[in-house]
Symmetry: C2
Subunit: 343 residues, 2 copies
């Protein structure tokens, strides 16, 4: 299946996950309550690592769980792995095959820690070494660049948060609205295509997001690198202000995700400042006054914590159109295979 | 004091820290033994966040301590901070003034967790909210871009690891060799200056390192962004292979740090492969056969875990020379102040 088709499958995939995964996620949340753990260690690479960034914010802010992103090389090459007392160890991987993630989960199991795999392949080696398996049911992903498995991972992370949550009615409604919001993004993609065409000559950019959207910034940047060969560097907006803001000269391209919520005001101030310095700002926002040279609208009324799902779909569309505008082939990125095995 | 002078002060600063900080670091290590904690949560921004990355590998591999890098916005804007049971919470900051780091340390203290500040300013707000303070004694840093306070932070992280270590004689010898290795880098800087001059026209690059040198890659990239306005994107080599490797076309600049140790063989294979794809490889290495178009030698015989200190000094020199070769002023980077306060 082509990248374009998989991008457009996402409302259907997300609806299916909402229906068919609820019972298994409730079961996993129940099993997790049996274990005493104080923090979560997540092992992941590439796109799945961006789902881990999302989990860091969602589980951190909604479930008060500190989340650490593992340094897998501590578990393989250096051969003196950390002591994982009081941890829950989670592996996130589309294929469930990368040896470095297996090393983290295997060591966790050896130390007697509870382990959870979030994967599209329940028969994978990662699932085999995990106590609990959250199978994504996103269907086979044919394109080299991950799209539907990323939004499926975010949905699984969000549903697991909801299953551990105190306010199940509200969160159920919020989760149920996600597929329709993704549909809205897909149906109104013309401003996205024209923004992409307008910046087709750029070869470098910064991608800014914060909080829940730090994951969106990192995943959007990764798609831009893989498909449009753009040196697109993602930053939390706070980190960007600690040095890299020096990059901004007249015409410097800034991509940003700024949706309503606790951090919107900060983003708005920063983007206004960057425009005064001459940056060319391309923004994804649900706010009609978001300061930008090219504003790509997102659906209004999204729950703040779930906005990264519709937002990255807009980022995928932007990347697709930019790739085509550059005369590149989104289904055959240079030098990549679907499954990457690192040690 | 100018950036050039502060880069060259580093052997003296590191020697001073080795002498004058040993007693206080032994005291802190002793106090930490009184506390039960299973993991370390570090809050830091910018250059200090790269010292936190170094701590993740050093404390992880040498002291078996898992290290999590905090998401400070969970502690401020989202107002429902994670539960920090079983953590030691560490703030790393040159100035000790950024409000987002203060929010993390204050919340940790409110929850009754042990807190440690690593800062150049013992009178700072960060130090005031911390149980334990490791003062860097790096002397005042005048240049906007941090150099000597970064290597001072790495040295403090390394000395704290040694103070918690089982093999004090060997580690003392290894630590004592660091200032001389930095001296060697500073004395033999001509190949670095000529490599920088050879690539003065590039405006984008990837910076690769792994393990202990993930910190080196991130800090080198940050200097290149701040001073030479290069969109220099840092990656762990494993992450780079999960997608971003698609960026590589003939002439694409790759900066890499590859020193002897558990991960050298992997790096050598990857750099050879990238050269076959036509990348222009600029490498910092202590290995004379490291595959590179421009090889900048590092001292031989460095302890693997301490190599990031001499290596980043070479990266600072490269950045300085590149900045000057581009006709820019390394003492006045565009749009930056010395102390950045983010919320």
């Amino acid at each position: 299946m082509s990248l374009w088709e998989e991008i457009h499958q996402q409302p259907e995939v997300l609806s299916r996950i909402l229906e068919s995964n609820r019972a298994s996620i409730d079961y996993i949340a129940g099993r997790l309550r049996d274990h005493a753990f104080s923090y979560v260690l997540i092992a992941a690479r590439g796109t799945s690592d961006n789902a881990a960034r999302y989990a860091q914010y969602v589980w951190g802010s909604r479930n008060q769980l500190p989340v650490a992103l593992a340094a897998p090389s501590l578990f393989g090459p250096y051969q003196s792995p950390p002591q994982l007392d009081h941890s829950l160890v989670v592996g996130i991987s589309q294929s469930g095959e990368s040896p470095d993630l297996l090393a983290v989960l295997s060591e966790a199991r050896r130390q007697g820690r509870p382990t959870l795999a979030i994967t599209n392949h329940a028969g994978s080696p990662l699932a085999a070494v995990s106590d609990l398996v959250l199978e994504l049911h996103a269907g086979p992903e044919g394109a080299v660049a991950a799209t539907k498995t990323y939004t499926a991972q975010l949905m699984a992370v969000a549903m697991l948060s909801a299953a551990m949550d105190q306010d199940p009615v509200l969160t159920s409604e919020e989760l149920a609205a996600v597929p329709a919001n993704v549909d809205t993004v897909l149906a109104g993609s013309e401003p996205i295509a024209s923004a992409a065409a307008a910046v087709a000559d750029v070869d470098r950019a910064a991608v800014l997001g914060r909080g829940y959207h730090q994951a969106t910034a990192f995943e959007w940047a990764l798609k831009l690198q893989e498909l449009a060969y753009l040196v697109a560097q993602p930053y939390s907006t706070a980190d960007f202000q600690h040095g890299p803001v020096a990059l901004v000269e007249p015409g410097f391209p800034i991509l940003a995700i700024a949706t309503e919520g606790a951090l919107y005001g900060d983003l708005e101030l920063l983007l206004g400042d960057l425009r005064r310095r001459g940056a060319e700002v391309i923004a994804l926002s649900d706010h009609p006054q978001c300061p930008a040279d090219h504003l790509m609208g997102l659906p209004v009324g999204m729950a703040e914590w779930l906005a990264p799902i519709p937002a990255i779909v807009a980022g995928q569309l932007f990347t697709y159109h930019l790739t085509v505008a550059k005369g590149l082939d989104p289904d055959h990125p240079r030098g990549l295979r679907k499954v990457t095995r690192t040690l």
